[in-house]
Amino acid sequence: MNALQKISDFFMTPAMKILLILAAVLFPFVASNEYQIYVMALAFVWAIAVYGMNIITGLCGQLNLAHGGFFAIGAYTLSILAVDHGWGFWWAFLAAGGAGALLGFLAGVVSLRLKEHYFAIFTLCVGFIIYLLIDKWEALTHGALGIIDIPAPNGFGLVDFTQTTPFYYLALTFMVLSIWLAARIANSLLGRSFRAIRISDDLAESLGINLMRNKVLAFVLSTTYASVAGALYAGLVRFIGPAEAEVVHTFDMITYLLVGGIGTLMGPLIGTMAITWLTQSLQFLEEYRMIVFGPMLVVLVIFFPRGVVGSFLTWRGRRLAAAQDAQAESAAKKKPKANNTVNSSAREAGNHA
């Protein structure tokens, strides 16, 4: 077993997870300034939304272009309730998650009647309608002015979430919970049903999987993730405007997904972190950033269509399979007689199988 394999095995162990969490916990202590902590907290918030997108798009294979819209719905629900109606942060936060789920259900029931690119185009329209509503419905959303003075999460006198570092830990906690739930879903029979739909609607249906019910469930899960992330975003940034609902955020999230690895568990996190910090480090290029960034993305998508994590997993899967084959072979060599019976019985099984 070589070093590469040892490292790759380590990536899959619980120790790796603990190490990652530990690194995240220690980050504020090693960060060189508060801005870095803020950027990281913001990246965690976006990562939550990307995990949501990964459920409907990565697992279930339905390209939802309204995702950014549901992020904005979460942010606006929280802000409107907290600022205009004086709700406490956490009640408004719960309501934001609920609004994301409910509106996601309504949008899902309608849009999931469409398949493939029709669904994608329809959700693009849904996203745009959300943007228009936010921009034009001034009585409710304050229109182009946006909403200011959004309260930070209530720390009940124990912590002050207006400070960057406490908020960082709050965002981290929510993100870890999100990943935990996403992992539960992905590894369960439910996640398998979603993935069967991703292979093909026809195949999934022929396996007795109710398409509409599963797709709507995946959609609602994803919009709930998005709106929870949006609500946290409002609590961190504390000023929001219609720009939050612009479709560019959806495309950003798709980029994160593609880079990290669509449909994988750690892909959303790695993609979000990688692009966030890459963008930060290319900031000096200002608007020319895309000239560097674009080609990098193209190369990545061409050579690693399954993203960083997906490519890693396939590579590892092949190695494990090869190792197992080699092992079976050497075991067979040691016991030539046993080998023969195994082989012939396998052949027999193949023949009248």
Binding site: L189, R192, A196, E205, G208, I209, T314, A349
Partner: protein, 255 residues
């Protein structure tokens, strides 16, 4: 087992399946043959509930299943494979099969969140069933491989296994031997026989005449959506209408 009455499916002006009536018996191998575009796959789509018929009636085990949703029909015990095999290429072979038994389980989102005992039991059950059907199709030695890396014939077997994982009583196989060599075709025919021996009724579409003639108990011939003949392989072989249809359509006859 399966009783079809005056089944018709029109796509616009085209009658892909036209007034077809037939009965398939349990525990037999029933074949459907016919030139390209004859409506064979459409016929399967109707039986499996993938699309509703324009007219006619489908009765399965005495139950009227006409127009019933595909997933419900699957739960009633009709499974199928498709003309083009699609599997989850990036996963292992075994991993592909676990979802096949999902329709026999109850777990919902709540079970997933709390990781209930029901979910854990059902997951075990699905995994065991996957292993079982993998053994059945003779592929237990490659369960750990990435699906993209296995041969075409092996993929066909995995598709069979996936259909079997649903615990079907009737399996519809759409051109199972498409794109594989004669020896592999022979092996696949053996597997189909084995399925019938284990109490599964088979209905298959195939262009390979040698295979059909040696395998089928009953053959239905479709041409331009219409049933032009039905009978035993011998009856079909000597049926002038069938010979006419095949010579007229200038393909398939050789195959």
């Amino acid at each position: 087992m399966l009783k079809i009455d005056n089944l018709t499916k029109r796509f616009g002006g085209l009658a892909a399946v036209n007034n077809v009536s037939i009965e398939f018996e349990a525990n037999k191998i029933n074949a459907i043959i016919g030139p390209n575009g004859a409506g064979k796959s459409t016929f399967f789509n109707l039986v499996a509930g993938a699309m509703p018929p324009t007219e006619g009636r489908i009765e399965y085990q005495g139950m009227d299943i006409t127009g019933m949703a595909c997933d419900r029909i699957a739960r009633l015990g009709i499974a199928r494979t498709f003309q083009t095999t699609n599997l989850f290429e990036e996963s292992t072979v075994l991993d592909n099969l676990i979802v096949g038994h999902r329709l026999r389980t109850q777990s919902r989102l709540w079970d997933v969140i709390i990781n209930s005992k029901r979910l854990r039991d059902e997951e075990k059950k699905c995994r065991a069933r996957a292993q079982e059907v993998l053994d059945f199709v003779g592929l237990s030695h490659i369960g750990h491989r990435i699906t993209a890396d296995i041969s075409q014939e092996e993929k066909k077997r995995v598709a069979f296994a996936l259909a079997l994982a649903t615990d079907p009583e009737l399996v519809l196989l759409d051109e199972p031997a498409g794109g594989i060599n004669p020896e592999e075709t022979e092996n696949l025919a053996g597997l189909i026989r084995k399925m019938v021996e284990h109490g599964v009724t088979v209905c298959l579409i195939e262009h390979k005449m040698d295979m059909i003639m040696s395998l089928a108990d009953k053959i239905m011939v479709l041409d331009h959506g219409e049933k032009i003949a039905e009978g035993t392989p011998d009856e079909i072989r000597n049926n002038p209408v069938v010979i006419e249809a095949y010579l007229g359509s200038d393909d398939d006859a050789a195959a």
